[in-house]
Symmetry: C2
Subunit: 230 residues, 2 copies
């Protein structure tokens, strides 16, 4: 499948590598292609600059946000939550119309110190995914994978034999079914994918970041997740 990923950070590149391995046709979208390729800066986690990553991932295409959105039959939002809506506007409502958009971003607010809180207006009675769905009413927004470190998103078997949970929500059942199939390809078993219903479920999964960040502060690793005990 032709898949676009809006955002070239650790999350975007991690998913891109995996999707290529699964034989998908992948284009990453960035704000400015020339700037992105010219940059020699390591990212905030100390990872090599993007152009070095691209050398070892030559099957991944690079384009603008708009190029990527036009290319993808399915689109991932892997931007920072604080700039997701702006980036998706640059990607273009027309290109995104009728497509499934997998939103894995979180509306983290780093302006008040660490650990971050959630952005004003995008928490408690609202969420980033709802904001995106309202801004792009013709797009089928599905929220998933946002409650874990990206290493686990594409390799759930890394811990607990893959038996830990990933939430999914969205207003369109067909779109969610399509995303579940892609999650299966990434290694997620159906029994571990919990459907929270419509897109307001994102209030629950984005809120989980408060706890996730606290636990990560204790475990000192992102390689953890939660499971449901009944």
């Amino acid at each position: 499948m032709k898949i676009a990923i809006i955002g070239t950070g650790t999350v975007g590149t991690t998913i891109a590598s995996k999707l290529v391995e699964l034989k998908h046709n992948v284009m990453l979208g960035t704000r400015n292609v020339e700037d992105k390729l010219a940059s020699t800066k390591k990212d905030s986690y100390g990872n090599p600059p993007f152009n070095e990553w691209l050398k070892t991932n030559q099957k991944v295409k690079l384009g603008t946000f708009a190029d990527a959105a036009a290319f993808g039959e399915l689109v991932f939002n892997a931007t920072h939550g604080s700039s997701s809506v702006a980036a998706l506007k640059l990607a273009g409502a027309k290109s995104l119309a009728g497509k499934v958009l997998i939103d894995i971003a979180n509306p983290l607010d780093f302006s008040k110190g660490m650990p971050p809180s959630l952005l004003p207006g995008l928490n408690n009675t609202h969420s980033l995914a709802e904001e995106i769905q309202e801004t792009f009413p013709d797009t089928l927004v599905v929220k998933t994978l946002n409650t874990m470190w990206c290493g686990l998103m594409i390799n759930p078997d890394m811990i607990g034999k893959g038996d830990h949970i990933n939430f999914i929500c969205g207003n369109n059942d067909e779109a969610k079914a399509k995303v579940k199939k892609l999650l299966n390809q990434l290694g997620w078993k159906d029994k571990n994918i919990i459907d929270l219903g419509d897109i307001t479920g994102a209030r629950a999964t984005e809120s989980l970041l408060h706890l996730w960040l606290k636990v990560m502060g204790i475990t000192k690793t992102g390689a953890f997740n939660f499971s449901l005990v009944r």
Copy 2:
């Protein structure tokens, strides 16, 4: 130990019964003792009125909020989050000073429909437990048990052989150690009690209610919890 429980709802009475079974000396605190004893109303879950519960739990004392706070060496806050601070003010800052207060309330806001959100001003960058700690600076507030149904609070073995998680946080390590011992008596193993650090950890556990409520809407039972997979 002499233990006071502020609040006579399902959570308060469930904990009271268990503490009596564990040979503790328990007083429940209510706003108005005569009204409480005279009421013949079932609660919102259809449980029998309080005076019937009391007949089968005769070792439990009943007093005002102030009576209970004066009586207890350790105090539970089991009121609704929306009225916790007011109830604790009636209990009295002097009586609560120097004591451990176990806060198991959640700042749920039912005014905007179901599922509830969190109360304005008590979410994201603040929490009910922090509000209580700030209002009663001489009290040692410890937040715990607020992320599950009360049946599990006092009987974790009901599911998953007791192996699921309970969070704890608070500014005073001695107070947390004391509460952990009580949690052990309730059936909680040390390995399943995750210390999130100071009282700001309550932002994380109170936020989890968003997800908890969504999952309960799916499972149709409160008899579930989360475990940590590493």
